[in-house]
Symmetry: C2
DNA sequence: GGCTTCAATGCAATAAATTTGCATCAAAGT
DNA sequence: ACTTTGATGCAAATTTATTGCATTGAAGCC
């Protein structure tokens, strides 16, 4: 969730035209409190405004490429999408329930990751560190 | 790489028949110093012993289910497979090069992750914590 | 030995998620 | 008006993995 973010501003800061579709994709992702799959995003949008599935994929690629959106791997086959780290939104681990596929955001410090040393010594370029906790959510445990 | 592991022992400890195919899949994974995709494993095996792709997938599922092998997500679409943590093989982060798809094992302490607190307080079941560093490997940087 | 059972494997078809190629359309530039 | 360009749509293809069903070969049993 990124209530403090202005999506038009984010797009223009990345020098991307703020088309209706792009704004809507960004809103669906930003207003949600947990990451969504491309299919989720498509279904959500398509209920209200007719949009093509491929357009959603293309917009997601674009937003990921410009680092407005984070592509998050799951223990399953589809990627999930959440807001990329920015001033209001710090990197944090996620929990993935392999039973129901729900992904939750964990607090940035729920799990303490110190990657400073690696960033300094790693012989290559590091773009991001993804931390994912896999298991069964409390809902699915019952 | 798991030179200290006896694959037959591992299989029988999991009460799985040590068929030739299972042993070979486990050897390919265990003798490799970095995780491989199902396609890599299939190609490696199929060069020497004819085997069906589906058999490889099924054996991988089985080995993952019995926790002999770890299914590792990448920044790409395919899963990679490495030896699951065991007495000789501690959990560790991986580096994934999004250019060439090569995955490397990082040392268990190259990146310090403290998940104790989470394990105690999390309202659900935690099966594993996966840490993946994404970027461009030094080879692809040149 | 002959018969049954069962797990392991193969092969073909299918599925799920994503990507590509090509057509269309509308806004912006000249 | 004419041209260019980027955004979108639609169909087809690709990649990765899964399912259904047939075959086979090694126990287990009489
Ligand atoms: Mn998140
Ligand atoms: Mn490894
Ligand atoms: Zn769940
Ligand atoms: Zn590389």
């Amino acid at each position: 969730m990124c209530k403090q973010c202005n999506y038009e501003t984010l797009l223009s800061a990345a020098r991307l035209d703020a088309t209706d579709n792009r704004l809507r994709v960004l809103e669906v992702i930003g207003n949600n409190s947990y990451p969504l799959s491309a299919a989720d995003i498509f279904k959500t949008l398509d209920r209200t405004y007719r949009i093509n599935r491929v357009t959603v994929y293309r917009i997601l690629d674009l937003l990921v490429e410009h680092e407005l959106v984070d592509r998050i791997s799951t223990g399953g086959r589809a990627f999930y999408y959440g807001m990329a780290p920015n001033a209001h939104h710090h990197p944090h681990p996620h929990f993935y329930c392999k039973r129901c596929g729900q992904m939750d955001c964990l607090t940035p410090d729920s799990l303490n990751v110190d990657s400073e040393a690696l960033w300094k010594t790693f012989p290559g370029r590091i773009d991001k560190v993804e931390v994912r906790v896999d298991g069964i959510c409390k809902n699915c445990m019952k």
